[in-house]
Structures are given as C-alpha cells and as structure tokens.
Point group: C2
Chain length 312, copies 2
Amino acid sequence: MNDVLEKYERGDRRALARLISLIENEDVRSREILEKIFPRIGRAHRIGVTGPPGAGKSTLVDQMTKKFCQQKKRVGIIAVDPTSPFSGGALLGDRIRMNDLATYPDVFIRSMATRGSLGGLANRAHEVADLLDGFGMDLIIFETVGVGQSELDIVEAADTTIVVLVPESGDAIQAMKAGLMEIGDIFVINKSDRDGADRTKVEVEYAVSLGGKNRQWQPPVVQTIASTAVGVEELLNKIELHRDFQIHNDISAQKKIKRLERIVRQRVAASLEQRFWKAEQEKLLREKLKQMVDGAISPYQVSDQLIEDFFK
Amino acid sequence: MNDVLEKYERGDRRALARLISLIENEDVRSREILEKIFPRIGRAHRIGVTGPPGAGKSTLVDQMTKKFCQQKKRVGIIAVDPTSPFSGGALLGDRIRMNDLATYPDVFIRSMATRGSLGGLANRAHEVADLLDGFGMDLIIFETVGVGQSELDIVEAADTTIVVLVPESGDAIQAMKAGLMEIGDIFVINKSDRDGADRTKVEVEYAVSLGGKNRQWQPPVVQTIASTAVGVEELLNKIELHRDFQIHNDISAQKKIKRLERIVRQRVAASLEQRFWKAEQEKLLREKLKQMVDGAISPYQVSDQLIEDFFK
C-alpha cells in the first residue's frame, strides 16, 4: 500500500487509477488511503455539471477541459452515470471521448457507473475527487447523466454547479419546477444555434432573478454551442468569477468546513452501525422476526428494544 | 391524532390523505402513525413500474388500474418523481391523469415529488405504501419517472417489478448494461405497434434467458399498446402468476421478513445518530473543525475520537 501511495505522490497515473479502484470498491484500506492523502487535498476547484439527457453535457465538458488544458491546467473528470439505462448512447459516448481526450497528458477521466452499490454514491464520488485533488489536479469536473437524487447530491457538493439546458422543450420551466434554479451557480443554454435560444436565455434569466434580491451571487446565463466551442471561453470566465467571488466572500472556507463536517458525520454513522450490529444484536433481531411476521410486535418496537438493550 | 386514525380505519379518504402528508413531511407523529397501522398491513401486492422516460409508463399504469378496477380491486398509486426536471411533461401528465382516474372511487393516487429531502425517499415511499395497504388497497403501484438510484431502490423493494421498454433506440441493450435485466420480474415492450417490436421482444427474451437456468422464475416479456389497452390483460395475468409463484415458493414470506428487517435497521441507524449527536458531541465537533481546516487533523481521526469519547 505504501508503495502505491508513494508512486501516487510522485505523480504516477497508474497508482492513481489503482487507488481510485480501491476507493470505489470500498476496500478495507480505503480509510488508510483517505487518511494519508488528506493533507494534500483542498487545492482543486470542483465543478458539477448537470442537466437533461441530450443537453450536450459531455461535449461541453470536453470543450471546457480542452480550454483548461490550453491554460496549462490539469483536469480530473468524474463522469457519474449511476444507472444511465436510458440516457441513450452515454456508454458509447464515453468511449469516443476516451479516445479523444486520452492524448491529453494533463487529463484524467474516470467513469463511475455504480448500479448495484446502493447509496453512498455521493460520498464515493467525492472521495475519488479527493484522490484527484491530492494528485494535483487544478479542476475536477463532476458530470452526471442521470437526474436522480444521488446525482444531484454530487453536483450540489461541488464548488460551482453548472446547469446545462437546451433551447427547446420547455427545459427552463421544467428546471424551475424541479428546483434546479436554486442549485445552479451558472446556467448554460447549450446548442444556442437552435431556434428559441434567446427566448430560453430570457426565461432562465427571469427565473433566476426571482431567486431573490438578497442573494449575493446572481447566476449568469451563458449561451454556448459546445460542438464548435462557441461560448466556452465565456463559461470559463464565469467559473473563474464564481471561484473568486466565493474566496472573497469566505464562502469557499465555509464550504470546506461543511464538507469536512459531512465526512465526520458520515463516518460516525457508519461506525455506530458497525459497533451496534454485532452477533448479539443480530441474534436478538432474528429472534424477533417471527413475532413481527405474525404481527405480534412492530418493527418500531423491536428497534426500540434493541437500542435500549445496547445502551444498557 | 386518534381522531384521524379512527377516520382512516373507517375508510375516510381525507384522513388517509392527511396521514400521508404527515408521513411525507416526517412529522414527529410519524412513528405513532406507523406503529398504529402496523397490524393492518401486509395484504396488498406491491408493484414497481420503471423504465425510460417516454416509454409510456403513466399510460400503462392507468390502463392497468382501470382493469384492476373492473376486477373490483382497489388500487393505490404512488407516482415517484424525485427530480424529474427533464422527463418532459410528467407534471402535466399527472394532472391529466388526476382528472381521468379521479372518477374512480377505488383508486387513490399520490405524487411524491421530493426534491429537497435528501435520501430516505425509498423509505418514505414504502411508508406511504403501508398507509395505502392498511387502508385496504389490494394493489399498490409505484411508478417512477426518474432513473436514479433512489427510484430503483423503490421498485426493487416491490413484490413484482415491471420494466417497461419501447421498441426503438436500443433500449434492450441499454437496460441490459444497466442491470435492469436482473431487477425485472416482468418485461413490457410498450408501443408494440411500432417497428421493431418483435425484434425487441426477441432481444429481451434472449437477455433474460442469459439470466440463468437456475433462476426459478423466468421473467415473461409482454407486448402492449398502452394507449389502446392492448396486452394489458395479459400483463395482469402475468402479475397474478408472479404473485402466485412467490406465495407458493415462500418468496412472499421471505420478502416480508426482509422488509421488516430493513425497517428495524433503518430505525436503529436513525436512533443511534439521534442519541449520538447531542450537545456535547456537537461541541466537540465544532472544536475540531478549525484543526481540520488547517489540515492538522483529518476528519477520519476526528470521527474516531468522537466515537471513542461517546462509548467511554
């Protein structure tokens, strides 16, 4: 393990990939790894990109990445695709991208397709981000294809959240209803060469303006055509602005505190459960199962009894 | 509270609606409500319906419901739509449905749109199902629009899971890759009047057959045209078959045990955290935050210290 960590610290990409796999698989050594790299993290800016399937998020992330590389920045991409059964072509899209960005030495892409591991996806994605952060990436981009709760948890925990919409199909209204207006720090109207792009921009700007006079940051709305990189530079400027804004208003520091707090709470919860569910408690639960099936006792009473017993 | 519960037990739909709201809002009286209704639950068959946006799930659920009503059965529908920002028209669709099925006295529909309440959606949906179950519904249908993890958690916890696909767009292959082949008990090829319906059926049947010779239940593939109710009766027959299969093979009983176990574990976890995070532990965490921000101590060490301190 120390061997791999040393290689990782020297900038060995294979060591990075290996550590990511261990974290993803919730290997027993995860704790040790995260502990060891902890002093190295906190430098990278984390960007969450979300939006409807077909909005062109992957293409946009690719173009952003290329521009970041031109600025001599190192970029880690975490493509979170928890179920993506229906997103249509995401899997193929990833493979095409790999070929394209694979030639960039300063880019590291990782797809997290996590069907099966229930819950914990948001935690895991941020642990992988920690590894990329500690590896020296300047930017980490979370890109989600799905629109479920876990995906939104991930982007919400980013420093800058970008919501990507397209001109057609009443996206703005749908996004508003879904509360996406509140999580976006920057809004992108992609495919802005299509009809209705200007109207969509106005709609989104209006929706954002409803967000409140008392919000310090007024989320900008950027029009892009990702396929030809139109507007991507402006988007990068807005990200930079948002980053500066957060640093100067002490928001970055607050977010860091929140993130650390979240880790502690999550670790405590896991640890409590681990301590609780020892052989004895499991046995007690087994014994009560029959009574519960018969309806003689409720699971609410059983959990109370187990808890009481544990703290006795 | 007793007043509302009494009315609920007498079959008052308004009391049902009120109790559902209390559960959804995680009211302090939730525990009392769930406890009280516990002896009444366990009769309903729970059906999960999932599939890509645009597969026609809502229409299919409506038609299934009408057929169930013709069989003099009472149906509760829980339309889970956690984020649905982009599903295109789901919100409107719901409203149209309300008008249509609202005339059915034996149908109760509840939409759960839960943007904001992080996690716990699957638990909450099943608690609402318990209320419908205790109210005397014969069937409870979970319909999900999103394809995120929480939505899949919900349908997986159902007695019968129906995966709805459409002929076009390589749905079968996407579903296979996403592991949906493993969660489906019945597969539906909806919109089967479209080109490629037979080919899709063959593809899905093939994919299902790969699932293993040693599985006792071979998931059937049903072609439907939900808009005109074609194939819906066959689907209901398959649901009935699957229900019988589970009863005769003791699978229903096992599922019931698992569900009860899950409730106990989830209650224990909540209770442990509640007991842990009292003023003192919160204070300790606050004190450590600065050191963590400075990188002097890791959140992993802090959680260990807090846990040690708690059990001292």
